[in-house]
C-alpha cells in the first residue's frame, strides 16, 4: 500500500517535473531560435523596405535591429508588446515613436531572455538601433532606474530618446513582479 503510494508520487513528480523543465527550456529556446529567423526576416525587410514576417502565421513583424557592441548584443525588435510578441524578442510599444522619428521610443523585453543584458548596461554605454529604412541611430545610456509598474509613467516627447524596459529583479523565480528595470538613453545627434 505504502509502496504503491510512493510509486504514484514518484511518477507524478517525474512527469510534472519533466513537463515543467521542458517548458522552461522551451521558453528559453524559443527566444533564441526565433531570433535566427528574425534576423533573416530583417534582411528581407531592409531589402524590400516593407514589413516582412519571420514566419507566415506571425502576427508581428521586425521593426528594428538593436545592437550593443560592448556586450555583443544583436537583437531584432518586433512590433507590439503582447505576450505572444515578447516570447520571440524585444517588442516596440506601438504608440511610442519609431526609431527614425524624433520622439520617445519604448522597447520592452523579457528579463530572463532578450533583455537580460539590461542589467549589464552602464551609463554612457552606446546602443544602436537600425530602423526599417536601414538607417542606424546611436543612443547613449543616460541613466538606469527601477520603478513600480503601476506608478511608472513614460511620457511622450518631442526629443529623440529611447527607453528599454524589463521586469525586475533579474534573478527572481516568480514572474509576477510589480517592479520594472529601465534604461534611458538619448540619441546622439548625427
Amino acid at each position: 500500500m505504502k509502496e504503491w503510494l510512493l510509486r504514484m508520487t514518484a511518477f507524478v513528480l517525474l512527469v510534472s517535473g519533466s513537463l515543467l523543465f521542458a517548458d522552461g527550456c522551451w521558453i528559453k529556446a524559443k527566444a533564441v531560435l526565433a531570433q535566427h529567423l528574425l534576423h533573416r526576416a530583417w534582411e528581407h525587410t531592409l531589402q524590400r523596405g516593407e514589413p516582412t514576417k519571420a514566419w507566415p502565421w506571425a502576427d508581428t513583424w521586425p521593426m528594428a535591429r538593436l545592437r550593443v557592441e560592448r556586450l555583443g548584443v544583436d537583437l531584432i525588435v518586433l512590433e507590439g508588446e503582447s505576450g505572444e510578441v515578447l516570447a520571440f524578442g524585444p517588442g516596440h510599444i506601438p504608440r511610442s515613436s519609431e526609431p527614425s522619428a524624433d520622439g520617445h521610443c519604448v522597447l520592452a523585453g523579457h528579463r530572463d531572455t532578450s533583455f537580460r543584458f539590461l542589467q549589464e548596461l552602464q551609463v554612457d554605454d552606446s546602443i544602436s538601433l537600425q530602423s526599417r529604412d536601414g538607417e542606424w541611430y546611436s543612443y547613449s545610456v543616460r541613466a538606469t532606474a527601477i520603478g513600480e509598474a503601476d506608478r511608472l509613467y513614460l511620457e511622450e516627447s518631442d526629443l529623440p530618446c529611447l527607453t528599454l524596459l524589463t521586469c525586475y529583479p533579474f534573478a527572481a523565480l516568480d514572474s509576477r513582479t510589480n517592479l520594472r528595470y529601465l534604461v534611458f538613453a538619448d540619441r546622439i545627434p548625427g
Binding site: 509502496e3 510512493l6 508520487t9 514518484a10 513528480l13 517525474l14 510534472s16 517535473g17 513537463l19 515543467l20 523543465f21 517548458d23 522552461g24 521558453i27 528559453k28 516593407e50 514589413p51 507566415p56 502565421w57 506571425a58 502576427d59 507590439g80 508588446e81 503582447s82 506601438p94 504608440r95 511610442s96 519604448v106 520592452a108 523579457h110 528579463r111 530572463d112 531572455t113 543616460r142 541613466a143 532606474a145 527601477i146 513600480e148 509598474a149 503601476d150 506608478r151 511608472l152 509613467y153 513614460l154 511620457e155 511622450e156 516627447s157 530618446c161 524596459l165 521586469c167 529583479p169 534573478a171 527572481a172 523565480l173 516568480d174 514572474s175 509576477r176 513582479t177 517592479l179 520594472r180
Partner: protein, 709 residues
C-alpha cells in the same frame, strides 16, 4: 580503496541520507525564494541613502536640492479658479500662487492640465504690487528669454504647452519666504449634448515628478533616485524631467494645494437645473438671471470639476451666433441644433458593413468582446437595412458576395458566421479595407463601415492613404478592442473616414458602448455639411470638413467672415433631402474671445493635418503665424513674463523644484502590459521547480528500490 569508496557511496545513498539531502534541497530552495522576495526590499534599501522614502510617501512636496541628499520643501501652491460662462463661450482665469517657505531662492515648475481645446492667451505675473504682462514668443525664444532672466536673478514666468491639454508653468527666482502670483486666462466653448450644457475643469491630483538625478554643481551626472511614491529623471531641462512622472498619493495632497473655484453662469436663457457631478456646490442667483456657483465645504481635488446645466422646458436654444471683430476681420461662433420634425423621425435606410479582425493578436478576451459586439449589432438591424460581414486575418473574406437585406434569415446566418469565427494569423487590414470601402457614392442609402480591430499594424500611412482614396461617401467607424489597441491609428482612421473612434477596454463595457454607438448611428440627422458666405464665396471655418450631425448633437463651428459679407449659408443633406439654412450675421451678439476660439480651432486643425502626414515645416509656419497673431500658447509658442529688475543677488544660487502634476498623455507601464507583468517569463521558475520535482522523483524511486531489495 575500492571497497572504501563503495562503502562511502553506500553511506551517501543511504535512504536516510537521501532524505536529508532532499530536505536540504527544499530548505535551500525556500531560502533562495526568500532571497528573491528580499531582493525587492533591497532595492528600496539601496537607495535610502539618497532619498528618504518615508518622507516622500507622506505626500509632502519635496525635491532633491543638492547632491548631499538635502531636501527642501518645494514652493507651496494654492489656486483660485474663476470661470465666466457667457452663452456658448467660457473664459477662465486661473491664479496660481507659489509660496517659497524655504530659506533659499527657488524655481518652481508645475505641470498641469487644462481642458482640451482651451485657448490660452494670457499670462500675468504679480510680484507684490507690480504686474508684469506676459508676451507671446516662439517656444525656443521664450525659453531663452526665461533662462536669461533666471540667470540674471530676475523674476520670470514661462507658460509652455506640452500636449494640447497639458501645460508647464515655470517661475524663476522666488526669494526665501516670498510669494509670486501667476495668472493665466483661457477661452473655451461649453459642451452641449442632448440638451445638456457642460463645462469641465480638470484638477485631478495626478502624478508629481521629482527631479531624480540632479545635475550636480560641476555638471556631473548624479545617481538615480527611486522612491516608493515616485521617481523621475532630472536634467537641467524641464522637458526632459517630465519624461517620467510618477503619480501622487491622493488625499494627502488636498490640503497642500488647495483649489478655490467660482463660476459665474450667464447662460443667456432661463436655466432649469445647475448640477455639479462630483463636487458639492452652492448656487446663488444674481442680477439678470446670472447664477453664481461656488464649492461648498471641503473640496475633493481628486477628480475633475464638471458643471452641467439645462434650459427650462421649451426654452432650449436652437441656434446661437456670437461675433467679434479683430484686426478688421469678423469672426463668428455658430451653434445650431439639427432640425427636429418629420424628416428626422424617419429612420434612414442604411448599408452597414461590419469588419472584424480575427488575427492572432485578438486572441483571448478581445475576440470574445468583438463577437459579442457584432452579434448585438446584427440583432439591431432593420428589415430595410442592408448589411455584410467581413472577417480578416492574413486574408479577408466576406459573408455575402454583396450586401444583403437584413431579414431574419440573413441575420441568423450572419450570427452563426460570427460565432464560428476563430483567431489565427496576421493583421492584413489593407485587404479588409479593400473589401469594405468601395469608393462609390450611395445616394439612396447611408453607408456605414464599422471596423472592429486592435489595430496592430505597421504600415499606418499606407492604410490611411487607402482610406482617403477609397472612402467615397461611406463613413468609417473604428472600434478599438482589448487592453492596448492602437488608438492613435484608429482615431486617425476614423477622422479620415469622417466617422468616430470608440474604445472598449473592458468586457463589461462592450454592451453599453456598442449600444450607444449603434443608437447614434441609427439616427444621422444632417450629413455632408458645408458652409459658404451669402455671396457663395468659400469661407475659412473649423472643423473642416464639418462632421456629420447625429440626433441631439449641435453643430458648433468657428468661422472667419470674408470681407463685405453679411451672412452665410449652410448646406447639408437631411434624410436624403437637401437641407439649407441662412444665417444673417448683423444680428449676432458681440462677445470677446470669439476670434481666439477660431484661432485655437485653426491650430487644432493644422496639428491634426500634421498627424495625418502633412508637411512639418509648412504646418509649423502656419501655426506660428496664427498663434503669434492671436497671442495663443501652442506647440510652437509660449507666453513669457520677465521682471525688469533683478531681485536675486548674483552670489546666491537658485534651486529647482518640481511641483505635483496631473497625468499627462503618455504610456503608463501597467496599462501597457494590461496590469499584469509580462516582461518576465516563468522559465526560471519552471526550470527550478521542474528540477526539484525530478530530484524528488529520483529519490523516491531509489528509496522504493532499496525498500524492495
Amino acid at each position: 580503496m575500492g571497497n572504501e569508496r563503495d562503502e562511502k557511496d553506500k553511506a551517501l545513498f543511504d535512504p536516510g541520507n537521501m532524505l536529508f539531502v532532499f530536505y536540504v534541497g527544499v530548505v535551500m530552495g525556500l531560502i533562495f525564494l526568500a532571497m528573491v522576495v528580499d531582493g525587492r526590499a533591497a532595492v528600496d534599501r539601496g537607495n535610502r541613502g539618497e532619498f528618504n522614502l518615508s518622507e516622500v510617501q507622506q505626500g509632502e512636496l519635496l525635491f532633491t536640492g543638492t547632491s548631499e541628499g538635502k531636501y527642501l520643501p518645494a514652493p507651496q501652491l494654492s489656486q483660485d479658479v474663476e470661470i465666466y460662462v457667457s452663452g456658448m463661450a467660457a473664459r477662465t482665469m486661473v491664479r496660481q500662487r507659489f509660496l517659497n517657505s524655504s530659506k533659499e531662492w527657488q524655481e518652481a515648475i508645475y505641470v498641469f492640465p487644462l481642458p482640451d481645446e482651451s485657448a490660452v492667451d494670457r499670462l500675468r505675473m504679480r510680484v507684490g504690487e507690480r504686474v508684469i504682462e506676459g508676451e507671446i514668443r516662439e517656444k525656443i525664444e521664450a525659453r531663452k528669454i526665461y533662462e536669461q532672466a533666471r540667470k540674471e536673478g530676475k523674476k520670470a514666468s514661462l507658460l509652455a504647452q506640452e500636449r494640447p491639454n497639458i501645460f508647464t508653468m515655470s517661475v524663476a527666482n522666488i526669494g526665501p519666504g516670498e510669494e509670486v502670483e501667476v495668472e493665466i486666462e483661457y477661452q473655451q466653448v461649453v459642451g452641449l449634448a442632448d440638451g445638456v450644457f457642460s463645462l469641465r475643469f480638470p484638477m485631478v491630483v495626478g502624478p508629481r515628478y521629482i527631479p531624480g538625478s540632479p545635475l550636480k554643481e560641476n555638471g556631473e551626472q548624479g545617481a538615480i533616485h527611486f522612491a516608493g511614491s515616485g521617481w523621475s529623471l532630472d536634467t537641467d531641462q524641464v522637458a526632459d524631467a517630465s519624461r517620467i512622472t510618477p503619480p501622487v498619493a491622493i488625499g494627502a495632497e488636498n490640503k497642500l494645494n488647495p483649489v478655490r473655484l467660482m463660476v459665474e453662469l450667464a447662460a443667456g436663457f432661463p436655466v432649469a437645473g445647475v448640477e455639479s457631478l462630483y463636487h458639492g456646490i452652492t448656487v446663488s442667483d444674481e442680477a439678470r438671471g446670472t447664477k453664481l456657483i461656488r464649492f461648498s465645504g471641503e473640496v475633493m481635488a481628486d477628480r475633475d470639476f464638471v458643471l452641467e446645466w439645462k434650459a427650462e422646458k421649451m426654452q432650449s436654444p436652437h441656434a446661437a451666433l456670437f461675433t467679434e471683430n479683430r484686426g478688421g476681420n469678423d469672426y463668428l461662433l455658430l451653434m445650431l441644433m439639427p432640425p427636429e420634425g418629420e424628416n428626422t423621425d424617419k429612420v434612414l435606410a442604411r448599408e452597414l458593413i461590419f469588419v472584424l479582425d480575427t488575427s492572432g493578436s485578438m486572441a483571448g478576451p478581445s475576440i470574445i468582446q468583438a463577437r459579442a459586439a457584432l452579434v448585438l449589432a446584427i440583432s439591431r438591424l432593420h428589415e430595410y437595412d442592408r448589411f455584410n460581414v467581413i472577417e480578416f486575418n492574413s486574408t479577408a473574406r466576406k459573408l455575402f458576395p454583396k450586401a444583403e437585406a437584413a431579414n431574419v434569415e440573413n441575420r441568423d446566418r450572419a450570427v452563426r458566421f460570427v460565432e464560428s469565427l476563430q483567431v489565427d494569423g496576421g493583421t492584413e487590414i489593407a485587404s479588409a479595407l479593400n473589401l469594405a470601402l468601395d469608393g462609390r457614392q450611395n445616394n439612396e442609402r447611408i453607408r456605414q463601415v464599422i471596423f472592429l480591430t486592435d489595430g496592430c499594424v505597421g504600415n499606418e500611412e499606407t492604410l490611411l492613404a487607402m482610406i482617403g482614396s477609397r472612402l467615397g461617401d461611406s463613413r468609417l467607424f473604428t472600434v478599438g478592442i482589448g487592453s492596448a489597441p492602437n488608438s492613435y491609428f484608429m482615431s486617425r482612421a476614423a477622422a479620415m473616414g469622417r466617422g468616430s473612434f470608440t474604445y472598449i477596454g473592458k468586457i463589461a463595457e462592450v454592451q453599453e458602448k456598442m449600444m450607444a454607438l449603434f443608437q447614434k448611428l441609427e439616427h444621422p440627422a444632417v450629413i455632408s455639411l458645408s458652409v459658404v458666405d451669402s455671396k457663395g464665396q468659400p469661407m475659412e471655418y473649423y472643423p473642416d470638413p464639418i462632421p456629420d450631425l447625429y440626433q441631439g448633437e449641435p453643430l458648433v463651428i468657428s468661422l472667419k467672415l470674408p470681407e463685405q459679407s453679411d451672412g452665410l449659408q449652410i448646406t447639408g443633406s437631411l434624410g436624403g433631402q437637401l437641407w439649407q439654412e441662412q444665417v444673417h450675421t448683423q444680428t449676432a451678439a458681440r462677445r470677446p474671445g470669439v476670434a481666439t476660439l477660431w484661432a485655437r480651432k485653426k491650430i487644432r486643425a493644422l496639428m491634426d493635418s500634421l498627424a495625418l502626414g502633412g508637411e512639418k515645416s509648412e504646418i509649423r509656419e502656419k501655426v506660428l503665424e496664427t498663434a503669434l497673431e492671436h497671442h495663443l500658447v501652442s506647440r510652437y509658442t509660449s507666453l513669457v513674463a520677465v521682471e525688469k529688475q533683478a531681485s536675486r543677488p548674483q552670489e546666491q544660487r537658485v534651486r529647482q523644484a518640481a511641483l505635483k502634476t496631473n497625468l499627462p498623455q503618455g504610456w503608463q507601464a501597467d496599462k501597457i502590459f494590461g496590469g499584469t507583468s509580462r516582461t518576465a517569463t516563468p522559465a526560471a521558475l519552471h526550470l527550478f521547480m521542474g528540477g526539484l520535482f525530478l530530484l524528488a522523483a529520483l529519490l523516491l524511486v531509489r528509496r522504493n528500490r532499496r525498500a524492495g531489495v
